[in-house]
């Protein structure tokens, strides 16, 4: 068994892992980047549509193009790469991985950055009855079949869920000659970005049905059809509104959740708020020395924020190795009014970074609101925002000065105030 010693091990080479590795390396640490597949870029490799990089590069790039910017830099850096290498477990900060060439590897780092990304929610996480035929798959799987493998996953498709990947795949399928019969969304509003409704659905005359869901699937071997039904405001099916639609493909775009398998094995606490690890202001988990970045920590909407969060995690890991990590007892950051998910959920007052960004997702759409961070009655920071929507992340960035306003002992709260 080969043993590798390194300063920082980064697990996963999607946009998060790439950015974390580069940042840690730039700050002078020896970095080992471990990636399961044989190429870099993670999920971005199958996202051939553009719309990546507007925030960081002020440019519309495709997924692979966005990744390429980091990959080039990485190749010029002294980050060591372990490709085709899957991490199986993390115990006491010792990583065990396997690869066809190297066999079993033991990696002993000073700090770890988890960057395994997220996974899609599946049929088992939505209430669909009926049979179990082939032809029911997630949008990401469809994306992979079409964009990377060049296969036609079906001929007549119904899409459940109006998440971004679902809408993007509606358009892709349409262009590949698959008849897209409609997008059905349980909630009264779209799950993905508004721009995608226009560019992916309306432009191609693909109907969108809100407050409607797929209740049952038919077909003993291949999918033969689905039964859709309208739902009331409590999301319960309204009897008499059922409609059967013949199709051979049901595409699920019903949400993403952080990949927690390894995080759990490593013993880190999982937050019920983000469904990813509990993290503090420097993206450190409940296990000292283990950090998380990108979609493994919270599902971001834009890849740019994924990269930002990864650089923050890398800086946290470097400070930890240098013995300068904040050590005060963490304050909780509480998800308040209309806040569904939030990062970080902990803050230490002796943090000395330049600035700090909070990322949050709201429960419901509201307009003319203020995003406010408070401590007890005191407002630490507040900003106006025209609209907030569940599909779009809200950021609140605190400067060094803002941070000095935070006092020990009282938990912080973030609210969307109307």
């Amino acid at each position: 068994m080969k043993v590798i010693e390194t300063d920082i091990a980064v697990i996963g080479a999607g946009p998060a892992g790439l950015a974390a590795a580069l940042e840690a390396s730039r700050l002078g640490k020896q970095v080992t980047l471990i990636e399961r597949s044989d190429d870099l870029g993670g999920i971005l490799q199958q996202c051939i549509h553009d719309g990546f990089g507007l925030v960081r590069f002020k440019k519309q790039l495709s997924g692979p193009q966005y990744a390429e910017r980091f990959i080039e830099k990485l190749k010029a850096s002294d980050v060591s790469l372990l490709l085709d290498t899957t991490v199986l477990s993390i115990e006491n900060k010792v990583i065990r991985a396997v690869s066809p060439r190297e066999g079993v590897l033991e990696i002993r780092p000073g700090a770890i950055v988890l960057a395994m990304g997220c996974r899609e929610r599946t049929r088992s996480q939505v209430e669909i009855y009926g049979t179990r035929p082939s032809g029911v798959m997630t949008a990401g799987t469809v994306q992979r079949y079409i964009n990377l493998e060049g296969y036609l996953p079906g001929r007549r498709a119904v899409i459940l869920g109006s998440g971004d990947i679902g809408m993007i795949m509606a358009r892709r399928m349409h262009l590949e000659g698959i008849e897209v019969l409609g997008v059905y969304e349980l909630m009264p509003e779209v799950g993905g970005l508004a721009r995608n409704v226009y560019q992916c659905l309306i432009d191609y005359d693909i109907p969108l049905h809100l407050s409607t869901t797929v209740r049952e699937v038919f077909g003993k071997e291949r999918l033969e059809g689905v039964r859709v039904v309208k739902v009331d405001k409590n999301r319960r099916p309204i009897e008499g509104t059922e409609e059967d639609i013949a199709c051979d493909l049901l595409v699920l775009s019903v949400g993403l959740i952080p990949e927690n398998e390894l995080s759990r094995k490593a013993g880190v606490l999982i937050s019920p708020v983000t469904q990813g690890p509990v993290l503090d202001e420097s993206m450190m988990t409940s296990v000292p020395g283990i950090f998380a970045a990108g979609n493994v920590s919270i599902v971001f909407d834009l890849v740019d924020y994924v990269s930002d969060s990864a650089e923050a995690a890398a800086r946290g890991a470097v400070r930890y190795l240098d013995g300068q990590a904040p050590s005060a007892e963490p304050l909780d950051v509480i998800a308040g009014e209309n806040v569904a998910s939030l990062l970080p959920t902990q803050y230490r007052v002796d943090y000395v970074g330049d600035e700090l960004s909070f990322y949050l997702r709201v429960r419901k759409m509201e307009s003319n609101v203020r995003v406010t961070l408070r401590q007890g009655k005191r407002v630490i920071k507040s900003k106006k925002q025209l609209v907030v929507r569940p599909a779009e992340m809200v950021t609140l960035t605190l400067s060094r000065e803002d941070l000095t306003l935070i006092e020990p002992d009282t938990p912080l709260e973030i609210h969307i105030e109307t």
Binding site: V98, Q125, R132, G140, L148, Q199
Partner: protein
């Protein structure tokens, strides 16, 4: 007897509106015909008739809305099979590769016999054997004096040897019957009495404290606890594949995707069967076709029972969910007839399993799961695991019990034709009784064919396939150096390597569909349900078998995974152009990133 039957019918159904006819055959078999008000009534009526004195069994040809369980010959397939000529020849033809057919095949492979197994599915175990609770019942839930009871207790005892030879996962950790109030106390006493009469070893009442000590995650304290230490747990599919592989190693030939559509009988003697892929000649047909065994019997001209499909739905939860390790029969809040209770247990791989319910249906292939099914399953499970939400279910599926109206196993030589053995009505506890059923059929086979001579080279051992994730790092290292494919992890949820998937494809009974692979190595069975590893498994199957993408199946001939390749279409002139220009229009509006904010 006809009069008595008329009375039974008239008591239950308004015969002026629904004229129902009962014919009594010489052999004591009653045939019911006519239109019934609904299937529940038809089913209940057949049960009542079956209970009547001197009735050997019931053939139920009652119909509802034009549908019935009467056997209709598949004429086209019969003609097709006959036209194709001989597919194979053997001494013994076993119809159906469920746990029963595979168990019999393995038992008979000890002898100098040429054996074939014919299975209509594209993998073995396509019926009840793949969709059950995996419980090796102790024998305290079956009616004393029945064949079921005898074979259940005997089969249970024989499982330790099967598990040792065939190397499937096996946990003999016992089960509990619980009572919470006066009403269920009665039911619990009944199982105690049944257990005593059936001679269930070691069964006893234990104190609720001892119980809570043994099952630390159970919060609701029962009043009484009946403990049956011999109850064990297996994965029904794994048992079946182990049996089939061992049989195949010992020379049994398995023909998959081969449906028996007729039985050739000449002068009262069986000559073989007709399948959709040709004729198979043989001296003895063993009918182990699960819920279709009544149809095979009809093909042989010896139908004396109807198998009525009784659907059961099971729900599976994530391994991390708390709950008991052993089966708890927490008396369901609605008492359903003909289920062993439907409780809470854990599969051998550690997932909590709840259910099943029991619903009489008319379509033997209806495996759909309906909201009412899960209502029942959730209700019965919540007795012992309160507060569980439906959204915690990670998978639910249905299985079909093949029940006759006597509600007992039918294992006997045909009284009408030579060379035909019925192994029918093998409902629960069929999995538990399987070893004893195989033994019994071995004896019936000797009765049919005369003394059997043993082979000198029979090998009872089936080696367990590699399970990479369970090996020590040293063993993993060694394996990868021998075959690098073990170092390539394909399924991240269950940590399954490419090496294991290739093994499954190359074993004695090859796995070439998604479901066949899933059942053997659990790839695609994890949390992502194949979303991530599906495309890779498709590639591996194609590479190993030479199939084209659209030829790879999930399970069943129409269950293609992908409909074809996009490159096919790309020959069309303007296709690529359209795609390229779409890429440009995919540009995002300037609004993004701006996020409507102003400080």
């Amino acid at each position: 007897m006809v009069k008595r039957l008329k009375r039974i019918i008239a008591e239950y159904v308004d015969t002026s509106q629904f004229p129902i006819n009962a014919t009594v055959r010489e052999d004591g078999v009653v045939i019911l015909e006519g239109e019934a008000p609904d299937w529940k009534t038809a089913d209940e009526l057949a049960h009542r008739v079956a209970k009547s004195k001197k009735v050997r069994n019931v053939i139920n040809h009652l119909s509802c809305d034009g549908k019935s369980l009467a056997y209709i010959p598949k004429k086209e397939l019969i003609d097709q099979g006959r036209a194709l000529g001989t597919l194979d020849e053997a001494d013994v033809i076993i119809v159906g590769a469920g746990v029963i057919g595979s168990g019999i095949a393995r038992e008979l492979s000890k002898y100098n016999l040429d054996i074939v197994v014919l299975e209509k599915g594209d993998d073995i175990s396509q019926g009840a054997s793949k969709a059950n609770n995996g419980m090796i019942h102790s024998g305290n839930a079956v009616v004393p004096g029945t064949l079921k009871a005898k074979l259940n207790v005997e089969g249970n005892a024989m499982y330790s040897d099967w598990a040792a030879d065939l190397q499937f996962e096996f946990k003999r950790i016992g089960s509990f019957g619980l009572s919470y109030n006066k009403k269920d106390r009665h039911t619990l006493w009944l199982s105690w009495i049944a257990g005593r009469l059936n001679k269930v070893p070691g069964m006893r009442f234990i104190s609720p404290d001892t119980f809570l000590e043994m099952e630390k995650d159970v919060e609701v304290r029962p009043r009484r606890v009946l403990y049956a230490p011999t109850t064990a747990y297996v994965d029904g599919f794994e048992v079946t594949i182990a049996l089939a592989e061992n049989a195949a190693m010992n020379g049994v030939r398995f023909h998959l995707s081969t449906e028996v559509v007729d039985v050739d009988v000449e002068d009262g003697v069986v000559r073989g069967v007709v399948t959709d892929r040709g004729l198979v000649k043989g001296r003895l047909v063993i009918n182990a076709a699960g819920v279709f065994a009544d149809e095979i019997a009809a093909m042989a001209g010896d139908q004396f029972y109807t198998l009525h499909p009784r659907k059961g739905v099971i729900a599976i939860f994530d391994k991390e969910k708390k709950g008991p390790d052993r089966s708890l029969n927490g008396r369901p809040y609605v008492h359903q007839k003909n289920t062993k209770g439907g409780g809470v247990q854990r599969t051998v791989s550690g997932n909590p399993l709840w259910g099943p319910n029991a619903v009489e249906i008319l379509d033997k292939t209806d495996l759909s799961v309906q909201p009412e099914d899960l209502d029942y399953v959730m209700g019965s499970g919540s007795v012992v695991c309160p507060g569980t939400k439906r959204s915690e279910i990670i998978a639910s599926f249905a299985g079909i019990r093949p029940a006759d109206y006597k509600e007992d196993f039918i294992i006997e030589r045909s009284r009408v034709v030579r060379g035909f053995i019925h192994v029918a009505g093998i409902q629960s506890p069929g999995l538990a009784a399987a070893p004893a059923i195989a033994k019994m059929v071995e004896e019936l086979t000797a009765d049919e064919l005369g003394k059997l001579s043993r082979r000198g080279d029979w090998n009872p051992i089936r080696e367990k396939p590699v399970v990479f994730s369970k090996l020590s790092p040293e063993e993993q290292e060694r394996l990868i150096s021998e075959n690098p494919l073990y170092g390539h992890i394909v399924c991240r949820c269950e940590t399954i390597s490419e090496g294991e998937i290739v093994d499954a494809i190359r074993r004695p009974i090859p796995a070439v569909t998604f479901d066949a692979i899933k059942r053997r190595v659990r790839a695609t069975a994890g949390r992502c349900q194949g979303g991530f590893c599906g495309p890779r498994i498709l590639e591996i199957i194609m590479r190993e078998t030479g199939l084209r993408p659209e030829e790879v199946r999930k399970q069943g001939k129409d269950s293609y995974i992908v409909a074809g390749t996009i490159r096919d279409r790309c020959d069309e002139a303007d296709c690529c152009e359209t795609r390229a220009s779409a890429g440009v229009s995919e540009g995002i509006a300037q609004e993004t990133g701006a996020h409507h904010e102003s400080d």
